[in-house]
């Protein structure tokens, strides 16, 4: 099973015995008689615990069923993990009684019991082909004010190079430094409710472009290129009278090369 398990049970015992018990608990008599494949796999762990894992959404619920039954047969806790529904549910079972484990990381739990879950889930590929960056123009706010506000929000001084802040005649230009923009322009929009903030998110070639006008932390309108079918804010046909990405950037005084990723 190379796929990422939707559900799992971590139980102590002997793998072959667990497999046979799990088969008896989870499979219907008819499935067994029809010779259907068992809907789970037993992954032997390095210690007492082993993982019983399944990837079929139809079998969600089997993890509780298995954990409850198996917990009746041993003194140690049995854990059930369900990752099909949001939020993921991790439960600890003892003698048929369950306890929901809040904020328990299933992978970490499995690892700690010596039976890591197989097939780590594919993480989203970094959008290497088309990384989008956000740069903002904040009208009526000076760099020093902005820095102070961001430091207050953060509760500590900003590390050097964290943001690029530049006072210009049109206003404050703000770009993410070492850690990206990370909503700093939205924070400033909230902190300076009367300032108009233009948040521009674009790809290096500007073929994916949006400029959001915000005030008081609220989105007022948005210009998008290409236009969106389901726009989240009222659509702006122009920004400062300009209707193309390049010209909008020029009108805002934002250098286009800031969207290039070095």
């Amino acid at each position: 099973m190379s796929q990422w398990p939707l559900w799992a049970v971590l139980a102590p015992g002997e793998p072959a015995q667990l497999e046979s018990r799990a088969r008896a608990i989870v499979m219907t008599d008819l499935d067994a008689e029809l010779g259907k494949d068992q809907p789970f796999e037993v992954i032997p762990g390095s210690g007492r615990y082993h993982a019983i894992v399944g990837t079929d959404p139809s079998d969600v619920g089997a993890e509780m069923q298995l954990a409850e039954e198996l917990s009746l047969e041993c003194d140690e806790p049995v854990y059930s993990i369900e990752r099909a529904n949001d939020p993921w549910t991790v439960m600890s079972w003892r003698k048929g009684a369950l306890d929901v484990l809040e904020d328990e990381d299933p992978e970490a739990l499995a690892e700690s019991l010596g039976c890591p879950l197989p097939g780590s889930e594919k993480t989203a590929e970094p959008s290497a082909s088309k990384p989008l960056r956000t740069v903002a123009l904040i009208e009526g706010v000076r760099a020093e004010e902005a820095r102070r506000a961001l430091e207050e929000d953060r509760g500590e001084p900003l590390p050097s190079g964290r943001y690029h802040l530049e006072d210009t005649p049109r206003g404050l230009l703000l770009a993410g430094g070492t850690g990206g923009m990370n909503f700093a322009h939205i924070t400033l929009s909230e902190r300076f409710p009367h300032a108009t903030v233009y948040g521009v998110t674009a790809s290096p070639a500007l073929d994916d472009f949006s400029a959001t006008v915000m005030r008081g932390g609220e989105g007022i309108e948005e210009f998008s290129w290409p236009p969106q079918v389901f726009p989240p804010f009222p659509v702006a046909s122009d920004i400062k009278g300009e209707r193309s990405p390049e010209r909008i950037l020029a009108a805002l005084g934002i250098p286009a090369e800031w969207f290039l990723n070095e």
């Binding site: 002997e14 219907t28 029809l34 949001d86 990370n182 939205i186």
Partner: protein, 1191 residues
């Protein structure tokens, strides 16, 4: 008699009226076997009788005295113990007959089968073992005490085992059977013990299991050994025991753990700190490391360390000859179970070869009869030596103690035990075949009638290369000389048996003529070699495979008696004489007539017409042994002349009476043993030999069918599988029945059934389904099975009844399919012409199996004086349905068997409920019927009527959609939703449809939340999931509005990388592009916290567990969206609540723009979301107010 299967421990009390007739505590002892002990308040006389302690088949019985409690109630109470303590006491009652008469066995037995005690899946598995085995992997168990040994099913062929154990069906020589007697805690049987020569070659799954068991064992042995090492002074016995344990681990030096260290080194490593601790330290480091504190006993351990440990060293010097060992060199030890041990020394070198295989072939085929060992030398060559235990007179013989253990100093050492013939190994191919041929030719050339010894050591592999003429020559050499009357008699006779066992069946008729000719027959009959029994069995087996032997009813067969009964011994004289017969040309021969005197098929080259042949007669002799008087012998009437190939029935008398079927020739060889003690020994071993030579060894030559990759000349893989089914299903089914041998031998009907059963096994050993199919054996088997069941009534145990009925059904199915021309028996197996092939065969079997059970159920209802018409109609309707699919055939089978196991009135009610379910099913719900009906018949279901009632509601619900019904039915059958609870909720039909259609709805969590209103954590989790479901529902319900230009086309769709996306849309446009829709029911608060946590992570801040979880959830969302965006799908949609605050919303949008560009955000009305969630909470009766705050 009240027969009770014991599944769980408890305290049993049975009362007839007010009189206690049985009481006892039932439990399991340390040996994991059933124990029955008196209860404090009741005398030991009332203990129930133990029928079986066999794990998984534990059974006790209670004798109900005639007339006890007449007219009152028979009451059984069972207070659960151990883990079930506190569970309500099980109480069962039956009305006892009012006058003195036997309790109607059928209802008494059936009532018990309804009890929870029999609620084991074993009932099912017995029946279906034969159907699943060819599809599932063979069961293999690691011996917990000796994890380097494996237990495997006795019916498996060497090829199947090689495939299962090593993943290579051709590796038939890579493992050896160990003659261990006691099987492990394994259900069913028979089981054989196997030692794989190179454990590292095991398939990964088994190697992991072996390593796991070794780890467990190591822990225990290290603890034990450490406890010994902490003793201030070890006596010699203690030191020996410690060394024995260490030597046992030395044998595992060729198995490495996950880190690459051998288990022997690990054992030594684990002991090192203890070994070097006080009081050992005063010996000095070096001496302690040499284990000198163990005194003289340490020498074997030092040698084992020197030769087997990679990591540990001692100052011990190995003085054995190298690379050729010298006579007297000690190569191992044998440890008796009691603790004593003896050395194993090599005597003379026997052979030297470049490979183990070549050395083994040479040594196995040498005339030498003592133990031999094969040992790899340091020069890469393998050498064989004769071996010796240096025993003094009267000392116990190691080879007679299969429960003992050998430990070998040289890794790879292989012991060849005397008489360890390898049945089932053919001549092979390539250089090994050439070597075997050379050995055969040398032996044939060297052997003479006066000195046949060169032939006497030849094993089956070499003998299988004999040509027809050479084979006759071997018989001539042995029979024309003095071998059968000399000291070589036993070896010579055994050789003849092996020659017959290893020969192709097609060549047997010619040999049969030679064997039953006057002179040869006379010599064979006059021999006193017990191996005649083997020759006789081989004769019957080959005759079955090569002649059309027709078995009529057992009742009409000539019957003879052997054995001892009290003071009376039954013997047979075996005269012979020439009689007339008629040889019929093969083209005019009607195989259905069988072979007998007066008419038999002519062999190629023989002239048809009148002829003469030797016939056998049997004269019964009764010996009476009387203490005070001389013994007397009374001769009975001589039998009619019998053709050597005719079937005879033999009743064996003695403490364990048995019935056997055999050819007259086999009986003649058996009964003609002049030494009566040998006759008794031989008849006592018949059953065992049938197993060895019938079910196990000879089946080793079963068609090679590992997986589905095997092809045959005609029809390829499919044909091969079809042939396999007919044959293997019968083999495994017969093997299952065999596990009930003890119970069957208790009655004459059971013994008669077993006799036919054994013959069927022998016939199958000949591989020829066509012979078996035309022999009448199957018909007689089915008939005898019926007799066993009807005569034994409720006395027969449930497991036996299931097994026999299955075999009966299988035999009938085969007969029926053959008679209808739907199957053709071929020498290699069964070829099915049914559409659907193997599956159709299975379906036909299930239908027949169901018919048998249905007949039993209806019989029970009628005998109880109840109306059976409706039940009959129901079962008839199910039978018709069974023809439609295998699922329905299984359902019919399950229902019929459940009905047959219930008391008549309950069976009637059950079948009425089945009928109601069938009748109420709307057409859209019909596909779910098979599963629901089958589930109702499952023995593990406590209350089938309640289940059927709920199922009836489900399939008859006028407003439930087919998809919802199917999903709920599936989950109800697998116990993942409780239909009774679901009905009790206040869910509207619309909501039920939505939730039921969703494959991932966590019903159990919701039920848990409903039943645990005070469990805050469960409530919060359930609420959060309900909110998610509500968001999905609203998304679906408002799809048109939310996604103009799209229509909803899928739910819970798996994306390319395996992520599940909630819904799928398809564009109305020409492109028909599909888009995933991920619905997140998160609140504004959760989004804000998640985005803040994400921000904190980007700023490299330390996150607490909760924030890490939130970041993980956001990352997972990105992963889902990225997966869903992969071509050919378009950009996915993300659906969220519309209640996000401005900053949170704009943050989310910005987040998506950067991390998941192009994903549109769709918003749901929060008010509706809250309303829906609240509505569901009410429907599920979940509390509204929580101290933890509502979501």
């Amino acid at each position: 008699m009240l027969s009770l299967r014991v599944v769980d421990p408890g305290r049993l009390v049975v009362k007839a009226g007010t009189e206690v007739i049985a009481a006892g505590a039932l439990g399991w002892g340390e040996d994991e076997r059933l124990r029955v002990e008196p209860l404090e308040s009741w005398p030991p006389e009332t203990l129930p009788r133990v029928v079986s302690r066999e794990p998984g088949r534990e059974e006790v019985e209670v004798h109900v005295p005639v007339g006890a409690g007449a007219g009152q109630l028979l009451t059984l109470t069972y207070e659960w113990d151990w883990k079930h303590a506190g569970k309500p006491t099980l109480v069962r009652t039956w009305r006892l007959p009012s006058r003195e008469q036997d309790i109607p066995l059928e209802w008494l037995g059936d009532e018990l089968s309804e009890s929870e005690w029999e609620d084991t899946p074993g009932d099912e598995t017995d029946t279906l073992a034969f159907l699943s085995l060819q599809e599932g992997p063979l069961s293999v168990q690691v011996d917990p005490a000796r994890p380097d040994l494996l237990w495997v099913p006795g019916y498996a062929s060497r090829e199947e085992l090689a495939s299962r154990l090593l993943g290579d069906a051709s590796a038939v020589g890579a493992f050896d059977f160990e003659p261990r007697e006691a099987p492990p805690d394994a259900r069913g049987g028979p089981w054989l013990c196997v030692r794989v020569r190179q454990p590292e070659a095991l398939v990964p799954e088994l190697l992991a299991a072996v390593r796991g068991a070794l780890d467990t064992r190591l822990e225990a042995d290290v603890a034990w050994s450490r406890s010994r090492l902490t003793v201030m002074s070890l006596d010699r016995a203690g030191a020996d025991a410690l060394v024995e344990r260490a030597l046992r681990w030395s044998q595992r030096s060729d198995i490495v753990d996950g880190s690459g260290q051998s288990y022997f080194d690990r054992y030594l490593q684990a002991l090192a700190p203890w070994r070097d601790e006080p009081p050992r330290w005063h010996l000095g480091d070096t001496l302690a490391q040499d284990w000198h504190f163990l005194g003289e006993a340490s020498e074997p351990l030092q040698k084992a360390i020197a030769l087997r440990s990679k990591r540990w060293k001692t100052r011990y010097t190995v003085t054995d000859g190298a690379p050729v060992l010298s006579p007297g060199d000690v190569v191992g030890r044998f440890h008796f179970p009691g603790g004593a041990s003896v050395q194993v020394r090599v005597l003379v070198p026997l052979t030297e070869e470049r490979s183990l295989e070549r050395a083994e072939v040479r040594v196995r085929n040498l005339p030498s009869s003592g133990p031999r060992v094969l040992i790899p030398g340091g020069d890469g060559r393998w050498r064989g030596y004769s071996a010796d235990f240096g025993l003094v007179a009267g000392a116990p013989e190691p080879l007679e103690h299969p429960e003992g253990d050998f430990s070998w100093y040289y890794p790879g050492t292989l012991l060849l035990r005397p008489g360890d013939w390898r049945v089932g190994l053919g001549g092979g191919t390539g250089e090994l075949a050439a070597l075997r041929r050379a050995l055969l030719e040398a032996a044939l050339a060297a052997a003479t009638p006066e000195a046949p010894a060169p032939l006497l050591g030849l094993d089956h592999d070499v003998l299988s290369l004999l040509t027809l003429d050479e084979r006759l020559g071997v018989f001539d050499t042995v029979l024309s000389g003095p071998a059968l009357t000399s000291g070589l008699e036993e070896d010579a006779m055994h050789l003849l048996g092996r020659v017959v066992v290893s020969m192709p069946a097609g060549e047997f008729p010619t040999l049969e003529r030679a064997l039953t000719s006057g002179e040869v027959l006379e010599k064979l009959l006059s021999s006193n070699a017990p191996a005649k029994v083997l020759l006789g069995q081989a004769f019957t087996q080959k005759a079955l495979a090569s002649f059309p032997l027709v078995l009529a009813s057992l009742d009409t067969l000539p019957t003879f008696h052997l054995g001892r009964e009290g003071e009376t011994a039954h013997l047979l004289n075996v005269p012979m004489g020439r009689v007339s017969t008629t040889l019929v040309a093969s083209e005019a021969w009607d195989p259905k007539r069988g072979v007998g005197l007066g008419v038999e098929p002519a062999l190629p080259g023989e002239t048809a017409g009148a002829s003469q042949r030797m016939a056998l007669y049997f004269e019964p002799v009764r010996h009476e042994f009387q203490a005070r008087y001389l013994s007397s012998a009374e001769e009975g009437q001589r039998s009619r002349a019998l053709h050597p190939l005719e079937w005879v029935r033999v009743e064996v008398h003695g403490p364990e009476p048995r019935t056997h079927l055999m050819t007259a020739m086999e009986l003649a060889l058996l009964a003609s043993l002049p030494d009566t003690s040998l006759v008794w020994a031989a008849v006592g071993r018949i059953g065992e030999l049938h197993m060895v030579h019938g079910a196990v060894s000879a089946l080793a030559r079963a068609p090679l069918l590992s997986g589905v990759t095997v092809t045959t000349a005609e029809g390829g893989t499919v044909a091969a599988v079809h042939q396999f089914i007919g044959r293997m299903s019968l083999v495994t089914s017969l093997a299952v029945v065999d596990t009930w041998r003890d119970e069957l031998t208790r009655t004459p009907e059971g013994r008669a059934f077993l006799a036919v059963h054994d013959v069927a096994l022998v016939a199958l050993a000949g591989r020829d389904m066509s012979r078996l199919a035309t022999s009448g054996i199957l018909r007689e088997l089915a008939h005898r099975g019926g007799v066993v069941l009807s005569q034994s009534g409720a006395r027969v145990s449930v497991g036996l009844r299931e097994s026999v009925e299955s075999l009966q059904a299988l035999a009938r199915t085969l007969e029926r399919l053959l008679a209808e021309g739907k199957a053709v028996a071929t020498p290699d197996g069964l070829r099915l012409s049914l559409p659907g092939g193997a599956e159709a065969f299975k379906q036909a079997f299930l239908a027949v199996r169901g018919e048998l059970a249905a007949a039993r159920a209806l019989g029970g209802i009628r005998r109880a004086g109840l109306a059976a018409q409706e039940a009959e109609k129901t079962l008839e309707a199910l039978k018709l349905l069974a023809a439609e699919s295998q699922e329905l055939a299984l359902a019919y089978n399950a229902v019929a068997r459940r009905a047959a196991a219930l008391p008549a009135d309950k069976a009637q009610a059950y079948l009425a409920a089945v009928e109601r379910l069938r009748a109420s099913a709307r057409s859209a719900a019909k596909p779910t019927l098979a599963g629901l009906l089958h589930r109702s018949g499952a023995p593990s279901l406590k209350d089938p009527l309640a289940f059927l009632k709920q199922a009836e509601w489900l399939v008859g619900h006028p407003e439930l959609e087919a998809e919802a019904v199917a999903e709920l039915a599936r989950k109800a059958c697998s116990k993942r939703v409780d239909l009774g609870w679901l009905r009790s909720t206040g869910l509207s039909v619309e909501d039920l449809n939505v939730m039921a259609r969703d494959k991932m709805t966590p019903w159990r969590l919701f039920q848990q939340a409903a039943t645990e209103p005070g469990n805050l954590k469960v409530q919060l989790r359930a609420r959060e999931q309900l909110r998610g479901l509500a968001a999905e529902l609203l998304t679906e319900r408002n799809a048109r509005k939310l996604f103009p230009g799209f229509r909803m086309t899928g739910r819970q769709v798996k994306m390319k990388e395996g992520h599940i996306i909630d819904r799928e849309l398809t564009s109305f446009e020409h492109s028909r592009i599909r888009h995933g829709v991920e619905v997140k029911g998160w609140t504004d608060n959760k989004w804000r916290q998640a985005l803040d946590a994400w921000l904190a992570k980007q700023d490299a801040q330390t996150l607490n567990k909760q924030k890490i979880a939130l970041v993980d959830q956001l990352q997972r969302l990105l992963d889902q969206l990225a997966d869903a965006a992969k071509a050919p799908r378009g950009k996915p949609f993300l659906v969220i609540t519309d209640s996000l605050s401005g900053p949170t919303k704009i943050k989310l949008i910005n987040f998506l723009k950067e991390k998941a560009p192009g994903v549109p955000l769709i918003q749901l009305e929060e008010a509706k979301l809250l309303e829906q969630t609240k509505q569901w909470r009410a429907a599920f009766k979940m509390p509204e107010d929580l101290s933890g705050g509502a979501l």
